[in-house]
Symmetry: C2
Subunit: 398 residues, 2 copies
Amino acid sequence: MLQISKRGLAMPPSPIRKLVPYAEAAKKKGIKVFHLNIGQPDIETPSIMFDAVKNAHMKVLEYSHSAGNESYRRKLAEYYAKVGVKVNHNQIIVTTGGSEAIQFGFMACLDAGDEVIIPEPFYANYNGFAVAAGVTVKPITSSIDNGFALPPIEAFEKAITSRTRAIVICNPNNPTGYLYSKEELEVLKTIIQKHNLFLFSDEAYREFCYTGTHFSAMQLEGVDEHVILMDTVSKRYSACGARIGALVTRNQAVLDTAMKFAQARLSPPGFGQIASEAAIDLPDTYFDGPKAEYLKRRDALVSRLNAMEGVFCPNPGGAFYAIARLPIDDADRFCQWLLESFSYNNQTVMLAPATGFYSTPGLGKNEVRLAYVLNTDDIHAAMDCLEEALRQYPGRTK
Amino acid sequence: MLQISKRGLAMPPSPIRKLVPYAEAAKKKGIKVFHLNIGQPDIETPSIMFDAVKNAHMKVLEYSHSAGNESYRRKLAEYYAKVGVKVNHNQIIVTTGGSEAIQFGFMACLDAGDEVIIPEPFYANYNGFAVAAGVTVKPITSSIDNGFALPPIEAFEKAITSRTRAIVICNPNNPTGYLYSKEELEVLKTIIQKHNLFLFSDEAYREFCYTGTHFSAMQLEGVDEHVILMDTVSKRYSACGARIGALVTRNQAVLDTAMKFAQARLSPPGFGQIASEAAIDLPDTYFDGPKAEYLKRRDALVSRLNAMEGVFCPNPGGAFYAIARLPIDDADRFCQWLLESFSYNNQTVMLAPATGFYSTPGLGKNEVRLAYVLNTDDIHAAMDCLEEALRQYPGRTK
């Protein structure tokens, strides 16, 4: 009998997708399911992106440069300058989604057996990319009680070993929505300088900050060699299907090395690059609309949650996620029950159990992640369901 | 000082791209360069693919299913049935180019330290994917003298160790153009059964066979668990920039495991899937045109090469590559000299030194790969250059 690889066995299944069969079964029964479980925005993709693809006159759909079209990289450098990140087009490698930027960063900087420190709860797919690279994730736990702020410096110091090579942050954060302050970034700077570590900064949600402004890890001074930005157009322009991201760094050795991985896979997607290049011509005011919409939804969601008995949801400063603590015994069981055994006015809600975002076993059992990617009417209807569900759920704890 | 990873250091740079600066310098001097060095076809991409993208009315460019759109996978299953490969849509994972199919296959089936056997010369990027996966490539050498036929079974037996987990073939072959016969595939079947190995079959050039018909590894009987097909639309439809490929297998455990890697990177490109799905509606006669064109070019190229003194080029049965043996001291030096120090009627030719396709050091030093991706007029002009160059080259050996 042929065996699959040990790394294949170690590869975690998607914690979000495992509930999908229950959602499908609920829909088959005629129940409407409000999807607050995934980060697929419903905001319309700017038409300028579709138009650019429609108006591109190509005879041959060729490979692009392995680092991405130069015209796009030059435009991206302009975009980054606008958000306070000074880089030139040669410091940008266009990737197939933010996912590939993470993979290139891990592959170029980390070896099998190396350790990376990530504040938990964190984006679950970091686990997958770590397994693919043979890298061990060392979580340090952030707490819902202070809104998932950066853990204290002592927690980092305690987690650092001789194999530690990097810290990974997501800012603003998926799944918590926490927006790291400039001061917290300065703390990270101290740590990466002292211990000679890379800092991987996933800033997929940069445009969506509600309280305070975004301070990029690329704006830290004196750590050009350390900082690697992972970026994507997926959330920025509601264009997840374009599969266009970027790895950005001023570390030339990392760029040269990532380029070897980029050359092996030939090039990023052609149509997606055309669409993404066009998006940079959107007026600066473009984000006002989506941001105001997300803010309205956040306020609706968070106030509804905190009005429920026994529920606590810190107010997220960015992205379009929130984590709430619920009076329940087991988030996985509760989320499955919502789909399998519950409905209210023939509706129910799909949530992501927070357990999938914690690396430490046992954590997040009374927490769920909610993505506010539905309009406020739907959010209210979903909250009506949740409120009623918490009344009926047999595993309610208080 | 921060260090990049050991695997990053071990990652081979693209052997084809290292000559690019010399080609750019030649062009700056006003010399026309005929590019026979890369597999970027000049055949027009079918307009049905562009039209499908233009006519797709989407409001949100969403993630697709991680395995690819179901409608596309169902169409792909129909396509495979037509080429003699019986699979259903659940046995297909749509990937970001053939490159990602190779990566998923390696990651799902192989662990760090495992060995794969690949007949050399082989597609250079297999090295890169092997390094990324921590896998060791064990080459067995095929010979230009018999047109790069499958090495004898004894060569495989000799190369197999306790760590051998798979054999990789490319059929028809890049870089040799060799088309494996059904009998050769049956030999491989014997070996993979006897030694319990996976067989990765890269069939990117399936449609372009000139002598004999294509026999897919997926048509071997009784080895459903062993065979993994890596495929792509890049060459088939001259659509390299779509970045759409597929991993196809009847091994459920491999599918399940590859899906975990697919879920981690979320989804393959959206526009590319739309274009690729439309391509399946092309009439069966579509390939007659491109195939006849490639055949004409092959005949022109191979007859011109073999008419040159001291040159030998076996007639390739498929793909759009040929390897020729030249009377030269060093292919890398010669190819650089062509760009740096030679021109004929203000023209020169860019070739790929075959050394980059051999894993065994020292092999391929008097061989070059030629991709016949130019029209016959240009091929003749390029051959005029090469003929003259071989007369003038100071390192000519006979």
